[in-house]
Assembly symmetry: C2
Homo-oligomer: 191 residues x 2
């Protein structure tokens, strides 16, 4: 038996995709099992409960984000390029069949998901916000960005607008998402 890591990873990929597509309450173990061509119980073998599966998805995403921002390919970018990189994460979601931000998805269902999952969502949200705040702060000091208010508030605005724009794009089309990204850049880039 050689596909231990492979099966586990495939389940995580599918769960992540379903989370972004239909939300935590919108998918079932049966969805994953049928897509994978195995039985329901096989999913439970890898992830005892839906809560642990959800937690694993978010934890993996947190690891991934940490690796990204500490990798030279992102770390060595200019402030403006860093912001573009941030937006590009979400542009990929959009291109990929109208997926939505994991954080936003789970926050909408916040009051109907297990508590362990809530904690993970909070951590991921906080970590992304911290990075964005630091990027905005550096960029303003370097003269690349110009905005009023604190970097923390501006980061919260940019992040929540992108999150909301992904959702809005589902009803009103991808253009709305691109509009929001462009408007954010106009609002923050020094003339």
């Amino acid at each position: 038996m050689v596909k231990i890591e492979n099966s586990k990873r495939t389940i995580l990929n599918l769960a992540e995709s379903l989370l972004q597509d239909k939300g935590f309450n919108g998918f079932s173990y049966a969805d994953i099992a049928s897509e994978l061509g195995v039985k329901n119980a096989a999913i439970h073998y890898h992830f005892a409960s839906k809560e642990t599966l959800g937690i694993a998805v978010i934890q993996r995403y947190r690891e991934r984000f940490k690796l990204w921002i500490n990798n030279a390919r992102v770390k060595d970018l200019s402030s403006e390029e860093k912001l573009d990189w941030f937006f590009s994460i979400y542009s990929d979601f959009r291109a990929d069949n109208g997926k939505v931000c994991l954080v936003g998805s789970l926050e909408v269902e916040f009051n109907s998901i297990p508590e362990g999952l809530r904690k993970e969502v909070e951590s991921l949200n906080r970590e992304m916000l911290v990075w964005l705040e630091a990027t905005l702060s550096e960029g303003r000091e370097a003269g690349a960005f110009r905005f009023n208010g604190s970097p923390a508030s501006k980061a919260a605005l940019i992040y929540s607008s992108v999150q909301g724009a992904l959702q809005m794009a589902r009803a009103l089309g991808t253009k709305k998402f691109r509009d929001v990204v462009e408007q954010n850049k106009q609002d923050v880039l020094a003339a």
Copy 2:
């Protein structure tokens, strides 16, 4: 029997609240019935299917929004006050046990809700955006607002940021929501 309209309205109120609290896939007829102190089938008597119930909630909200914006109490406000009024709608959601925007909630679950409901969500989103765009446009011409880009893009940014901020506030607290509102005002109000 005298409480026809009353029961129907109470069901709509509860459904709206549950939608904002747990999402469309996060509540059931049983939740409404038990809260109301009646049996499941009583809800089906008033709303044949969950889809028609959801549609009715959104349609009522659309009517409400139309009444609001055409009422003198909003219509006669200054541009700046209109924007404040818009934000205040969502501040009320926040104050009311961390509720989330109906539009955002349903857009997250967009791919797992009935099609008739999707259409309603699209209409509500479009109508609110149109009003916000017009308000921003008027305000800029009147010298109350200052921003780059089109009123349409700025409206999309403001709306999606508020939508996202309500969600973010669930994980990170109400302060985040207030920060986003304040930042939006700083970004748009003429110095």
